[in-house]
Subunit: 281 residues, 2 copies
């Protein structure tokens, strides 16, 4: 990834979990080139995005190296995670101590599995973590709108700090951060939670852990995003995901604040951690 000099926002794409295809990267680049904001963004896919090592887009070392190199490179303004899958948590411990001052002033955008890195970075006060669409969302019906929203945020982002800061996570990924050294302090935050492809009993199980963790009980409240592609529960679970969220919030004494506009879909809002959700018009 050679750097060029321009006034545009340079965004480096790396894949901390699963790989993407070069064809998807080409489609994202072609889509971005046709946008009004095309000249404002300079998008570079790191070759590591296309690497393969079992489940992952390259070995742990390859993925960590790519992320660290783009994060630490002053020629890049932002890091965009290519897709979720699984693999981000494996990198956290190795990546954190390698990030320099440049990396600490950068924006990191992704969701789903990459929430493990976003949460850890937020906890370590490294740059701006933001929950929002990824390049892989171009594969969704209506995914162009999601990718446009992400790029617009990366170009124009930086919402003002807000008295009720937000954070957004995949439910399962947040559950697996709890109790590790990488769990950020979310006291006073509006915590937005979404999930995909889980049966309701697992959403309930993860909600139980999340709302029982003393650290989480200090959030300002919980908003439930979309739980999509729910896997059939045998027998019928007996509560909807909204009832599950209300149930655990009430038990924990956490205000339930209604629905959040996030999820594994094209409408997924950008939520910069510690700030207000990004309003894209």
């Amino acid at each position: 990834m050679a750097a060029i000099s321009s006034s545009s926002v340079r965004v480096g794409v790396v894949a901390p979990g699963g790989r993407i295809t070069p064809e998807l990267a080409d489609r994202v680049l072609a889509f971005a080139a046709g946008l009004d904001l095309a000249r404002a963004v300079d998008l570079r896919f790191h070759p590591q995005c296309f690497a393969s090592c079992g489940h992952f887009a390259g070995s742990d070392a390859e993925r960590a190296d790519a992320l660290v190199s783009v994060a630490n490179d002053p020629d890049f303004d932002a890091v965009w995670f290519a897709r979720g899958g699984y693999g981000s948590f494996r990198l956290v411990e190795a990546v954190l101590p390698r990030l320099n001052a440049v990396a600490r002033a950068k924006t990191y955008l992704g969701y789903s599995d990459t929430g493990a890195l976003l949460g850890a970075f937020y906890g370590a006060r490294i740059g701006t973590s933001a929950h929002g669409p990824m390049p892989s969302d171009l594969n969704r019906p209506g995914g162009e709108a999601a990718v446009l929203r992400a790029l617009a945020f990366l170009v124009a982002g930086e919402a003002a700090a807000n008295p009720a800061p937000a954070a957004a996570f995949n439910i399962t990924i947040l559950a697996h951060l709890i109790g590790t050294p990488y769990m950020p302090d979310l006291a006073g935050h509006v915590l937005m939670l979404e999930d995909v492809s889980e049966p309701l009993y697992r959403i309930d199980r993860a909600f139980g852990q999340i709302t029982s963790a003393p650290a989480i009980r200090r959030v300002a409240g919980i908003m439930l995003g979309r739980c999509s592609a729910i896997v059939a529960n045998e027998p019928e679970f007996g509560q909807t995901e909204v009832e599950i969220a209300r149930y655990w919030c009430e038990r924990a004494g956490i205000p339930y604040l209604g629905r959040a506009d996030i999820g594994h879909d094209a409408d997924n809002t950008v939520v910069p951690f510690g700030q207000e959700p990004y309003r894209f018009k």
Copy 2:
């Protein structure tokens, strides 16, 4: 469940997660009646085992009440969990403060989902928690041996305290206990871990959380039980469950101590927490 007076060990069966059928209870009773130890054990299925409320064997209140009533009843010597499924964690917070001195001298036997209760009880120093077969195991091929092993432990159990105490958990269930107030102190324990019906990426993800938790890093070592009915990983994960266990143990500086004889199968050993694994001959 009327109590009768005898010198046998009276075992109350309750279902903190999913329900069982009355037919299964009858089969377990008939099987137990034909054993050499039949006169040494007096097995009672609480009617709550057959209740139904969505996913669960009755509402949270019904399940908690049944567990508390049997646990607190001096006419019962042990509590045997009927099956796993999901639901134990929902009961922990409500049940713990209701247990009396009698409950604190009792043995609790189960595994899988019921590990949430076993772990919380162990953490609160309530009786003896033991990881081992449940009545539902009679449905497995060779399940008679598992049920016999469980009954023999309940009748003759009480292994001697050991300099290297053990604890055993389902990997996913332990991951969901971490960071909650119900996570027991496992410092110095040999921690045995098993799982069922998960793809390898989820086993890896949970292992990452478990071995990253500072509390877990103080265990004497980790032994890997059987990971059965592994769901296909797309793409191929690239590591076996043994390699996953070794990988995370090495990263965490936790000794990997080899395989443990536990799992969702008929051979599942009884592991009383804080003691040596039960040797059944």
